[in-house]
């Protein structure tokens, strides 16, 4: 799942990515969408099914990894 500037960088809101861990999924995503997303990445948080996660966390087919750029609600 992509939001805000990360959605602009990918041109989509969601995509299917293969990977064994959260780190794998993020790396494969950046490879697919290129430099603009790579530049955003250091400011993004990564959530797995709505909770903060770590690169080592394993993921399955139904898991949702979200890339969350800096927020601007309010």
């Amino acid at each position: 799942m992509f939001f805000g500037p990360a959605r602009d960088a990918t041109g989509t809101r969601a995509t299917l990515v293969e990977g064994r861990t959260v780190g794998d999924v993020v790396a494969a995503t950046v490879e697919r969408y290129g430099e603009e997303l790579a530049r955003l990445l250091p400011t993004c948080r990564v959530w797995l099914n709505g909770d903060p996660t770590t690169p080592e966390t394993p993921v399955g087919q139904k898991d949702e990894v979200a890339l969350l750029p800096p927020v601007s609600g309010g």
Binding site: W47, P70, V71, G74
Partner: protein, 156 residues
Amino acid sequence: MGQDDWIELTSGEIPFAAIAAWVVRPGCGAVDIFCGTAREQSDDRPRVERLEYEAYEPFVVPKMTEIALEARRRWPQVGRLALVHRVGPVLIGEASVLIAASTPHRSESFDVVHWCIDTLKATVPIWKREIWGGGADWGLHAQELSQVADAPGPDR
């Protein structure tokens, strides 16, 4: 989420008058209500026409509920507490967010509402897009997302 919390993500106008009437409690002498309203000026974007809020929708109400719980832990005297945010288009002058609290005494009503809006802006997955004459882009002054438990204390 107890009956004394009103937590909502809405794509329509925020029901301001209903919340203002609901938040009052006979044991509370103070009500503070904060509204964030869409501004026509944002730094170098002089004539913003409207805002568009995008949210990671399934997790907005859970995050705002977490904020309400933490607010009640820090200010146990809070009577009723409302956190309401809009998604979708918001015209200039309309409210994008509302925080309201009733408390026995006045000072803590300001403190808890101020803490809730500061924490909401840092922890809830929502993004603002500004649409102006010359273009459209995401809100300036975005903050890297943090967790409610890491929110600074009442005395910022």
